[in-house]
Assembly symmetry: C2
Homo-oligomer: 277 residues x 2
Amino acid sequence: MTGNKLTDFSRLAIHTITTKPWAIETAIARYAAAGVKGITVWRQALEGRNPVLVGQAIKNAGLSVVSLCRGGFFPAFDLKNRQAAIADNKRAIDEAAALGAPYVVLVCGADPGQPLADSRRQIEDGIAACLDHARAARVKLAIEPLHPMYAADRSAINTLKQANDLCDRLQHPNLGVAVDVYHLWWDPDLEHEIARCGASGYLLAFHICDWLTPTVDMLNDRGLMGEGCIPLRTIRAWVEKTGFTGFNEVEIFSNRWWAQDQDRFLAEIKRTYLECS
Amino acid sequence: MTGNKLTDFSRLAIHTITTKPWAIETAIARYAAAGVKGITVWRQALEGRNPVLVGQAIKNAGLSVVSLCRGGFFPAFDLKNRQAAIADNKRAIDEAAALGAPYVVLVCGADPGQPLADSRRQIEDGIAACLDHARAARVKLAIEPLHPMYAADRSAINTLKQANDLCDRLQHPNLGVAVDVYHLWWDPDLEHEIARCGASGYLLAFHICDWLTPTVDMLNDRGLMGEGCIPLRTIRAWVEKTGFTGFNEVEIFSNRWWAQDQDRFLAEIKRTYLECS
């Protein structure tokens, strides 16, 4: 199963962090001019802006607001910090509602000063504490499992199975999952867990980029599609087999690409989206 | 379940790579003088030496030869390279026999130029092709699952479940598993898979070190025990619960520690072995 080539940009979305050097106003204008159809807004891109007005500007430019990135970071050894995280996630939900974003992506967090099992319990408790707020705001929460190399300090949810299990336990219409190829491509159970995620109605988002060999920076050395070894078309076929018709969201953190001309980078994203994704 | 403190050095072994600046003759002398009881020999430490004589020198110094590191690296797109890998693994088995090492640790390999599923099949085929040679030499092969951050180019076996499954499929008295906390600590199924590994008779080796936050180099920034967030005593308790009475092997790749005085490093290994492992 390899999957079909993409032949147009109707499902292409880009995360604002991908073109980090651009202010969000520039990103909206350039994405729209390039024929990109969706945008996922990172919270730092909203700083000093009114999210309602940013949401309107996105729609006026002909783009969809795909999601708000990111909430999460629930675990902390101190109760006060856990309560502060929950309050911040409720603010993120309100921002998403103001922006018109249907879901908030959760990077769940981890605290290297305590056992992983504790961080995992605190993530579950933290998400549970936000779900009624999310329902009232008509916003969903998308758990994004992160690569195990981030287990110490960024996310104690490291496999799609864990995210699916968490959704099973919490059983809430406003909870789902974001599948990112960068974090999950290595997992021998990936095909099975994607099918399960889709069949359970959890699959909210699909993020793409590539894995470089060597990877010289654990955070900011992601590859453009086709630069690495992730079988993008195969994984997308697994995702689409579940009935998923959402956006293919390009999310690339790359010191190398951020140092280049961003218009050229955007052109390369479009080219590799069709050729390699 | 936290596990008991270690109170002596009777089960302390060190990998020669841990004190990379030392030639193996120096390592043998210094480990023995420090009361270390076992040594795992890396193949590059044998370069230009007769493994029979090195093995005798180790025993004469009162140390046990714990294992030879490392075979593996089976996957390759080209058949010729896969055949060369099998031949090299047979040489490693012969070296282990000459040295008096009961097993060879396998870093199984991966080739970013082909799908992971292909690399995984080639690993299984490669190991299968070496097992009779291993039996004849009275040497075991220990599959070491590597952290998923090495899935592109170092090992397509990335969880203990995969290693256990592989042993289940090949069912051979000369095949087992090496558990390394650095690669496996994040896995939510770790306790279960260690129990399974032990109950199946696969558990041959236990490697310790620590995970640093941040990790600044994906290969050579491991922590000394206690410097990071791995629950060493908990994982050791899981291992010992299976009846494992082998060595606790200290395997640390660290540009930082290699740049220090190695006698001081060895003293720190002994201190943290008792205090943190």
